[in-house]
């Protein structure tokens, strides 16, 4: 399987280890992975903030960059939702790009989805072992992908991993892009609520498969003195398969 990685701007800058984990896992599963270097940002910040024209321009750029990719995989549910749900709508009136937007939407997958729905992976067969207790935060955009809770199945296949439920699990952490900066009191209160639930779970690790949520939750926990480590499921799997050292950054 030929897979192109859509790293997303946040993972590129803040969580490159997630990208490395995704590459390692996909290659381990037999995929040829490439990274089209001209990619920048999917345009989601512009889209959400009401700058549809700029979002469309970035959508066109991203479509160009991944034109020849067979499958596009991204470690972020929200960027995947942007491509899958909003690209076709944004470019519906552009005769040159409308069909390409639909094609891009069809071939783009969020990492967990790609493992469960396309590659049909069973981590037990692969001997994935990761010792520790985790809780799991679902990024809201998984709602749009119909993939809420999808990572549970994979986590359950990891030997040694104990998954403790997170209170109010499907509750938004309050990130929401510019919302976090424009309405810091509201957004911060939502993040505080999330940090409280995480503290109550007593898990030392939170699995969170979206760069934006991860930054937000990590920052909120830090401010409130809740000591946890945020990990993408790709990191858990890469470590569990011995493709990456647990401590490495």
């Amino acid at each position: 399987m030929n897979v192109s990685l859509l790293i997303t701007c946040l993972s590129d800058q803040f969580y490159p280890r997630v990208g490395r984990a995704v590459v390692a896992v996909l290659q381990h599963l037999g995929c040829a992975v490439d990274f089209p270097a001209a990619q920048t940002c999917c345009g989601q910040p512009m889209y959400n903030s009401g700058y549809a024209d700029d979002a469309a321009a970035l959508a066109r750029h991203t479509i160009d960059v991944f034109e020849h990719s067979a499958h596009v995989v991204t470690p972020s549910g929200s960027c995947c939702a942007m491509v899958r749900r909003h690209y076709p709508a944004l470019l519906a009136d552009d005769p040159a790009y409308a069909p390409r937007a639909r094609a891009m939407a069809e071939k783009t997958y969020e990492f967990v989805e790609y493992l469960t729905r396309v590659l049909d992976v069973d981590l037990r067969e692969l001997g994935c072992r990761w010792d520790g207790r985790v809780t799991c935060h679902d990024a809201c955009h998984l709602r749009e992908l119909g993939a809420m809770g999808e990572s549970d199945r994979l986590l359950a296949q990891v030997e040694g991993l104990e998954h403790v439920p997170l209170g109010k699990r499907d509750r938004c952490c309050g990130f929401g892009g510019t919302f976090a900066v424009k309405y810091p009191q509201i957004s911060g209160a939502m993040a505080g609520d999330k940090a409280g639930c995480i503290a109550a779970s007593e898990a030392p690790t939170v699995v969170c498969n979206d760069g934006g949520c991860a930054m937000h939750i990590a920052g909120a926990c830090r401010r409130r003195g809740v000591s946890v480590e945020l990990k993408h499921i790709a990191e858990v799997i890469a470590e569990g398969l011995g493709l990456m050292d647990a401590g490495s950054v």
Binding site: N48, Y51, C140, D170, F179, I186, S187
Partner: protein
């Protein structure tokens, strides 16, 4: 009694009708620090939201989505042919003996109601809960005209007594706790203090029963208008709507024109969804179907039934090709209960009658986008509202649409618009992105503490670090790593550098 008809905040503003343009943050920033408020709203909404999901799963399972789709189509079809169904409703309602009035705006709605009250010599009026009467401020108008009017929905009754305003479209006093109700009863009704729910209800009942007997006019809203029969459908849980519609001589139903449905069969579909979405009940305890006033051979019912059809901006909204979807709303409140922002800030932070996600759409449409610029923006777009909506209103999409409108009308600050233009400009070229991200990484990493967190970010990051720390970016970006380590591994696709 005047201060009771126009609830004000501690800052002297009217709770639901603040000075415009409205700045949400002034209230919401205080609300997030009000632990009692947040606890009350959180507990009630979480219970309702959880029960809603369970009841739909149990009653319809997989077929729930098909049911929502059907409800959506029924409402949309009716809205698409609203003039036709309005005429049909008026014909049938009049044939059944009702008097139908059309009110173009709030002032006219109140004039019509006051006209009826005056002609009929009404001195006392009892009123059921209705959002549209809140919207047109009918209670204030009646009181000002000397018609003693009492809210009979338990929640609304308490709010009226306590000089407070509703904060939720279904559960008006969701922001209050029992103790404050007990205190209000003690103060206003001379009852001995209690915070036992049953005792409180008994006190209210006792007080209200006498008022029903003395009232000459009853005012209700309407959940549905059935065009095929000219009926008004009123759903309540306490039976107060039934009392208001049947005990006094004159019944006035004030209803928004978007409440129309073609026939009972269609109303039945929506009834299956309404109470389940609102309160996780299969049906409300009372569902009154009112077709005309008391007939000659009947013992009970009002002598007159007036239906006041309220437009107040709805036809204009119907003409908006995108935002018209909001007219499908059946005011079930599910989106409020599901909304993490509503749960955090409470209804009064919205500064308007309609609160929560649907309020964030409807309020700017009815009262001016420039008057309520925060409402479409104060959302994380998490999508819980759209998922909860029984008539498939894509609320997040419409919020984004209004954000586009805000930018088109240049409501957003110039600095913000410029920042976004610059941001987009940078992202359009990979080399610009690479250089800019290097700069940002450098600046933020220099500010980071030993654990790798920025506690006071500059520029646009300032808001972030007001309430959270900001993780610093990585030393090496993913793309730098790839270039160093992977670029030359044989891959099928060339990683093309298109600058």
């Amino acid at each position: 009694m005047n201060e009771q008809t126009a609830p004000v905040t501690h800052e002297g503003e009217r709770v639901l009708f603040p000075p415009l343009p409205y700045d949400m943050r002034r209230r919401s920033d205080a609300a997030v620090k009000d632990d009692a408020l947040r606890a009350a709203v959180e507990a009630a909404t979480l219970t309702k939201d959880t029960a809603r999901k369970a009841t739909f799963a149990e009653a319809f399972g997989e077929r729930y989505d098909a049911l929502r789709g059907l409800a959506e189509r029924i409402k949309q079809h009716t809205l698409d042919h609203l003039d036709y169904y309005l005429d049909q409703f008026i014909d049938h309602a009049e044939a059944a003996g009702a008097t139908v009035h059309y009110a173009a705006d709030a002032a006219e709605a109140n004039r019509v109601c006051l006209g009826i009250a005056e002609r009929e010599g009404v001195r006392a009026c009892v009123k059921a809960k209705s959002m549209v009467t809140e919207e047109v401020r009918l209670l204030e108008a009646l009181q000002a005209a000397g018609v003693e009017t009492l809210e009979t929905d338990l929640g609304e009754f308490i709010l009226q007594l306590d000089g407070d305003a509703p904060s939720h479209i279904v559960t008006p006093m969701i922001h209050k706790d029992r103790a404050s109700v007990g205190r209000a009863f003690e103060r206003e009704l001379g009852a001995a203090y209690t915070d036992e729910p049953d005792a409180l209800t008994a006190i209210a009942r006792e007080h209200l029963r006498d008022k029903y007997r003395r009232a000459d006019m009853g005012v209700t809203g309407g959940n549905f208008l059935v065009a095929g029969s000219g009926s008004v459908v009123v759903c309540t849980n306490e039976g107060n709507g039934t009392f208001c519609a049947s005990t006094p001589r004159v019944h006035v139903a004030v209803v928004g024109i978007e409440k129309l449905v073609p026939t009972f069969e269609h109303a039945a579909v929506l009834l299956k969804l309404l109470a389940r979405s609102s309160t996780a009940q299969p049906l409300t305890v009372y569902t009154d179907i009112l077709t005309g006033p008391k007939r000659r051979d009947e013992h009970d019912g009002p002598e007159q039934l007036h239906v006041v059809l309220v437009d107040n901006g709805r036809t204009e909204l119907l003409a908006d090709p995108v935002m018209r979807d909001t007219l499908r709303c059946i005011r079930c409140g599910a989106c409020l209960n599901a909304c993490p922002v509503y749960r955090t800030v409470g209804g009064h932070s919205y500064g308007a009658v309609y609160t929560g996600p649907i309020g964030a759409l409807v309020t700017p449409m009815l009262k001016g986008l420039t008057n309520y610029p925060d409402l479409p923006q104060a959302s994380s777009l998490c999508g819980a509202c759209g998922e909860a909506c029984p008539v498939n209103i894509d609320i997040p999409h419409l919020l984004v649409h209004l954000r586009n409108e805000l930018n088109a009308q240049r409501v957003a600050g110039r600095a913000e618009r410029r920042a976004f233009k610059l941001y987009a400009w940078v992202l359009k070229k990979p080399w610009r992105y690479r250089w800019a991200s290097r700069l940002v990484r450098f600046v933020l990493r220099r500010r980071a503490d030993d654990d790798g967190y920025v506690t006071r970010a500059p520029g646009p990051g300032k808001g972030w670090t007001e309430t959270r720390d900001l993780p610093a970016p990585a030393k090496q970006s993913f793309r730098q790593w790839w270039k160093q380590n992977k670029r030359d591994e044989p891959q099928r696709h060339r990683d093309t550098e298109v600058n």
